[in-house]
């Protein structure tokens, strides 16, 4: 979940030798109490490191690479694959493109012209994991990080993934190591080395057939989520109406 407080202090004395902790928090735009608490606990969270790096104009990837567990981050940054790019397009945008094609009015392929919603979208993390999965990613991830599979599933369902796990997933799948940090919203596209308009280009490059099946798969996921949500609602209502 984090880097050690010792390593953080060492790093901050290098990038901001003159600044007090209060200055640092002001420049990074984080709460002082949050950082103080993290330092006391001996672990500073990755989002804090990223915020501080941004505040001081350091590239967050380079900054993270100075910490244990992230050393290979910068070296391992490449272009995202098309599958990863497409995974970050929301289902509504996919369906809109499908409709546009059916009406012969697909225009040029930039994020802006396709009016792609910014990501991460609701299912970003799970969609990304599925896009990079060579077959047994979840199992390998559980083995190599020591995080139980149930816990991994819970994180994916909640649309979260701890930074270390996201990087490890990319290592296992052999994709750009920053991708997981981009799809969890920790890094911006530019910081993570994702090309601007990359999503739109990858989406437009899909054949009609692939687009239709992609849409179907996304609707399938959505349908399952809705069914689950309605089931849970029904249970809540049964509990409330009968015993509440």
């Amino acid at each position: 979940m984090a880097v050690t407080a010792k390593a953080f202090q060492l790093w901050r004395s290098r990038i901001a030798p003159q600044d007090t902790l209060t200055d640092l928090c002001r420049i990074a735009g984080i709460k002082r109490s949050t950082l103080a608490q993290q330092l006391v606990r001996g672990k500073v969270s990755v989002p804090t490191v990223v915020a501080v790096a941004r505040g001081y104009g350091e590239p967050p990837v380079g900054a993270l690479a100075r910490f244990e567990g992230f050393e290979d981050l910068q070296r391992g940054t490449t272009l995202p694959t098309d599958a990863e790019l497409v995974s970050q397009v929301s289902h509504t945008d996919i369906l809109r493109l499908l409709v546009a094609r059916s009406e012969d009015r697909e225009c040029t392929c930039t994020d802006v012209q396709l009016r792609l919603a910014p990501f991460p979208h609701r299912n970003s993390v799970r969609a990304w994991i599925e896009a990079i999965d060579p077959g047994d990613l979840r199992q390998q991830l559980a083995l190599s990080t020591g995080v139980a599979r149930q816990n991994l599933s819970a994180q994916l369902t909640a649309g979260r993934l701890a930074p270390e796990i996201a990087v490890q997933a990319a290592r296992i799948a052999g994709v750009s190591l920053t991708s997981g940090l981009v799809v969890t919203g920790l890094l911006t596209q530019a910081e993570g080395g994702w090309p601007e308009d990359g999503r739109a280009r990858a989406l437009c490059a899909l054949s009609d057939l692939d687009l239709v099946f992609l849409g179907r798969d996304r609707l399938d996921v959505l349908g399952k989520q809705l069914r689950r949500a309605e089931l849970d609602d029904g249970k809540d209502r049964a509990m409330w109406e009968n015993l509440g």
């Binding site: 509504t92 609701r122 959505l222 989520q225 809705l226 689950r228 949500a229 089931l231 849970d232 249970k235 809540d236 049964a238 509990m239 409330w240 109406e241 009968n242 015993l243 509440g244």
Partner: protein, 240 residues
């Protein structure tokens, strides 16, 4: 904790559990559980000596109050049993409680209770009929009075545990269901232990009143979750 303390605590909790539901009940929400809690408060009150003697004195000091306590308790178990079976989504438990078999069990219980009460010699108020414990019919009367709650609790234990283990459910509901499951289990354990020859001593009070405490706490949690849920009901767009 002395046995009387736990009785008074249970009385207070039942009364509080019923009191917080008054506004809802006036608007028509959760009337069944409200009535059940009021009756449970009455039943718990009648198991405490000073209250019992006062009430029984009003109705002739021949322990009619004890009969009232038994019948109240049966009603509480029927009402709560039906509602809980529905809340846990267990149609089997519902059928076992208010299906033909359940109704037959209840009818036999009520008939046996009335019969053993009439057949006993009960001059003078005595809480839980302790002064007449040497009479065979009084022992039967007490045994019947435990078996029906034990039966209903037994029907609800498994669905309650299943609801507590449901990973998809809200945490507050899982905790509430765990409390309810704990309460029902205690009732079952208590009834089973009383079937043996063991002398339960203080546990004779601790087990059933702990069961009441757990059950009412569970109901209060669900009430709380409902109240909070009503307040911040948002219709999130799930298609977006």
């Amino acid at each position: 904790m002395t046995t009387t303390t736990i009785q008074w605590v249970a009385l207070g909790l039942c009364a509080a559990g019923a009191a917080v539901r008054v506004p809802g009940a006036r608007k028509g929400h959760g009337r069944t559980v409200f009535v059940a809690l009021v009756l449970l408060t009455l039943a718990v009150g009648l198991s405490i000596t000073p209250i019992y003697e006062a009430v029984d004195g009003l109705v002739g000091a021949v322990n009619i109050a004890n009969l009232l306590l038994r019948l109240t308790l049966y009603t509480v178990f029927v009402l709560l049993g039906v509602r809980m079976a529905a809340a846990f989504g267990s149609s089997l438990a519902r059928r076992l409680i208010v299906g033909p078999f359940g109704v037959a069990v209840l009818a036999v219980t009520v008939a046996a209770t009335l019969y053993f009460f009439v057949a006993s010699e009960l001059p003078g108020s005595s809480t839980a009929l302790r002064a007449f414990e040497d009479q065979d019919t009084v022992q039967q009367y007490a045994a019947v009075g435990r078996l029906y709650p034990g039966y209903v609790a037994g029907c609800l234990v498994v669905p309650a545990i299943a609801s507590a283990l449901d990973r998809g459910a809200r945490t507050i509901h899982r905790v509430a269901c765990a409390l309810l499951a704990g309460g029902f289990s205690l009732v079952v354990v208590f009834v089973l232990l009383r079937l043996t020859a063991l002398d339960l001593m203080a546990w004779d009070y601790i087990l059933p009143f702990s069961a009441i405490l757990l059950t009412v706490l569970g109901l209060c949690l669900i009430w709380l979750s409902h109240t909070l849920g009503r307040r911040r009901r948002t219709n999130a767009n799930r298609l977006a």
